[in-house]
């Protein structure tokens, strides 16, 4: 029996059309717009102005606190301006806009592709380097990585968990990375282990990627302490809490963090970025992005410089299909529908999904028939039908006691509801109201 998390979960159609497309380096665009807020936490502060010359890897915006991250230029050229640009959130937000001229990298970056296995930095230096390099969680959460590696006093971490689950349908960027950059990723995992001072790292991969599992299982023999675990396909296994439960059967307490149960979770893409930052001195300015969809001519995985417009990727994959109804930044379960196609690719963008119009509409809504399907699929053990109703009635106290803050917004409830109710819309609304109340209570 393959391991998985025990409670709830759904199994949407996988649609991994781009699974066999090797990672392609996307040619440089003419201009990039790099948002200064691409992570959870405080936005960073621009350190360049109009007219400045920058090289690839130059810092262009500086972290403004512990939970924040540096931003580096992904291209070489001239800063056109620092201005508000529509980004993938649907709002205009400050970006550094750079006109591309050539492709000149910062001198300190090691551009060679040789595998560098030996880790010379100390744990403190590693964390410092990761912080400097602007690395954030590349699975989509975009939480600054150095924060997760700085374990508070009194907490003991004994295992590093590497998320290679890629439970979102359609997306394949992590899958390709595990196949094509496996050794780099494993060294990256060793670096993370060193930073955390742990001797054990478990890589969780869902069983729909047998090639990645096999490939890594062969390689880990040379990497003591790293294990590969095949997991049963079940959404949302990539959720931190679900993955920890599936792999080591520990349950992160409600309102708690993985480190409360001695674990830290990083994504495979993050491990690769850590390798590049620590071994090659290369800050985070590019990432693998899947561009896919049912009608896309050439479903692809691109190595993309941060700030490249989404439309540029779409062109490279054969253009926008005729029947397009929706373009999603991320996967179909948790991604965000874009309202414009020239928005920039950001650090957290693991994929762009193009949905045909006939699949873009929501289900027709009817009355809740109290079938309890939403209850049985909720991985957090909540009662979505109830939270939905409480949120509509604005019963904030009840919402809180019924656990709305535990909702991980995985969307399993709305996915499954036969009555077509937009459960998560209201639950999200309730959650944001309750979190405001909790915040004001603390002050």
């Amino acid at each position: 029996m393959l391991k998985t998390f025990p409670k709830g979960g759904v199994h949407p159609a996988e649609g991994k059309y781009s699974a066999n497309s090797a990672i392609e380096v996307l040619p440089l665009p003419k201009q990039v717009s790099i948002p200064i807020a691409q992570h959870i936490g405080a936005p960073s502060k621009p350190v360049v102005t109009k007219g400045d010359k920058v090289k690839v890897g130059d810092k262009i915006a500086e972290s403004t606190g512990f939970v924040s991250a540096n931003i580096h230029s992904s291209v070489s050229g001239t800063v056109f301006k620092v201005d508000k640009v529509l980004d993938s959130t649907g709002y205009k937000r400050p970006c550094v806009i750079i006109n591309v001229e050539g492709d000149e990298w910062h001198e300190s970056i090691d551009k060679s592709t040789d595998l560098k296995k030996e880790i010379s930095l100390t744990d403190k230096e590693i964390i410092h380097r990761i912080n400097e390099s602007g690395i954030v969680g590349l699975g989509g959460a975009t939480f600054p990585s150095h924060v997760k590696l700085s374990v508070p006093d009194g907490k003991k971490i004994d295992v590093l968990i590497i998320n290679g689950v890629e439970c979102e349908p359609y997306l394949t960027s992590d899958h390709r990375l595990m196949l094509e950059k496996a050794e780099e990723m494993l060294v990256g995992i060793q670096i993370l282990m060193k930073a955390l001072g742990v001797n054990l790292a478990l890589i969780g991969i869902e069983n729909n990627k047998p090639d990645a599992i096999e490939h890594l299982e062969k390689l880990v023999k040379d990497y003591p302490g790293i294990e590969v675990h095949a997991l049963k396909v079940q959404y949302p296994q990539g959720g931190e809490k679900q993955l920890i439960k599936a792999l080591i059967n520990r349950e992160v307490p409600s309102g708690g963090l993985p480190l409360d149960v001695g674990a830290v979770v990083h994504n495979v893409g993050t491990a690769y970025a850590v390798y590049e930052a620590v071994q090659k001195n290369k800050p985070l300015f590019e990432r693998v992005v899947t561009l896919t969809g049912k009608s896309v001519k050439k479903p692809s995985n691109f190595m993309v410089r941060i700030g490249t417009p989404v439309s540029y990727l779409i062109e490279a994959a054969g253009g926008l299909p005729e029947d397009t109804g929706k373009v999603i930044n991320g996967g179909p379960m948790m991604g965000k529908a874009l309202n414009a196609l020239d928005v920039p690719v950001v650090k957290g963008a693991s994929g762009i999904l193009i949905m045909p119009a006939e699949l873009s509409q929501r289900k027709k809504e009817v009355n809740c028939i109290r079938c309890a399907k939403c209850v049985s699929v909720c991985p957090q053990g909540l009662e979505p039908y109830l939270l939905n109703r409480l949120a509509q009635l604005e019963k904030n106290d009840k919402l809180e006691t019924d656990g709305v803050m535990d909702c991980i917004e995985c969307g399993s409830c709305a996915y499954t509801c036969p009555a077509g109710l937009p459960l998560l819309d209201y639950i999200r609304l309730g959650k944001s109201r309750v979190s405001q109340i909790i915040r004001s209570r603390k002050q």
Partner: protein, 332 residues
Amino acid sequence: MSKLFISPSPHVYEDTTVKRLMFDVVIALLPALLFSVYFFGMGAIIVTLTAVVSCLAFEWLIQKYILKEEPSITDGSALVTGILLAFNVPTNLPIGIIIIGSLVAIGVGKMSFGGLGNNPFNPALVGRVFLLISFPVQMTSWPVPTGFSNSYTDAVTGATPLGVMKEGISAGEPVSAIMDKIPGHMELFYGHMGGSMGEIAALALLLGLGYMLFRKVIKIHIPLSIFLTIGVFTGILWLVNPESNADPIFHLLTGGVMLGAIFMATDYVTSPMSVKGMWIFGIGIGIITVAIRVFGAYPEGISFAILIMNAFVPLINMYVKPKRFGEEVKNG
């Protein structure tokens, strides 16, 4: 290209709809319907058609002219109510009475509470119990299964096995003697006995259960907990005194337990939301059913048991919650 469609996540949905679920229930009811037609002939067809047509008609009329809302009869729920009502009455019931039952089921049982999803009691059972109280004679004259015949209201009638048992026990006859007067367990299993139209064939009803489980329409918890409770409870009584109590298999195969546990108690709207709640609900139904059979006036009892437990569902939902992730930390 036209404008991009924007909506919050998730962006994909399971293809299950309320309609599909309801039609799956109808499919699951078909084997039992076929058995009934085989055993009771024309009567089964007439009763089913009458109940179905009148339930659909009343739902449509009430929505259109009284509630003035878009009629939703195509969702299949009134169809299910109609078939279930038919399953719960004898096949020689006069058409007028069936129409009254349908009106009560749909009008009182469902629409007066705001339609599908808001009714606390199973509509078909509301209709059935109303008829049982208003027309006790017609509701308890069960045709004998004679095989397919064209006879309808002039069918030969007789008591149900459970009725024979109850009467015999209260007259002081030993169970072993009563058993000789009623069909054997195998016959009971495939439904060769008198009774309400759809309650007789355990075999067919279990097939329906299998289908619903396979299609993930319902979960096993409610039927299972009812079967186990009735089995254990009557089993104890039987072991203690086999001469004045029927055996558990007999109890499970007769008096609509199969129909009730598989199709009536599992009605989404009127059963609990959490697995723990489903067990409490099922155990409650089991206990009340046996209590009515052993101590009460009616020989069967599951209809009343379900309606009584329906009333507790809001309370169960309020206090019996699923276990939340990370609520009670046990690591290992």
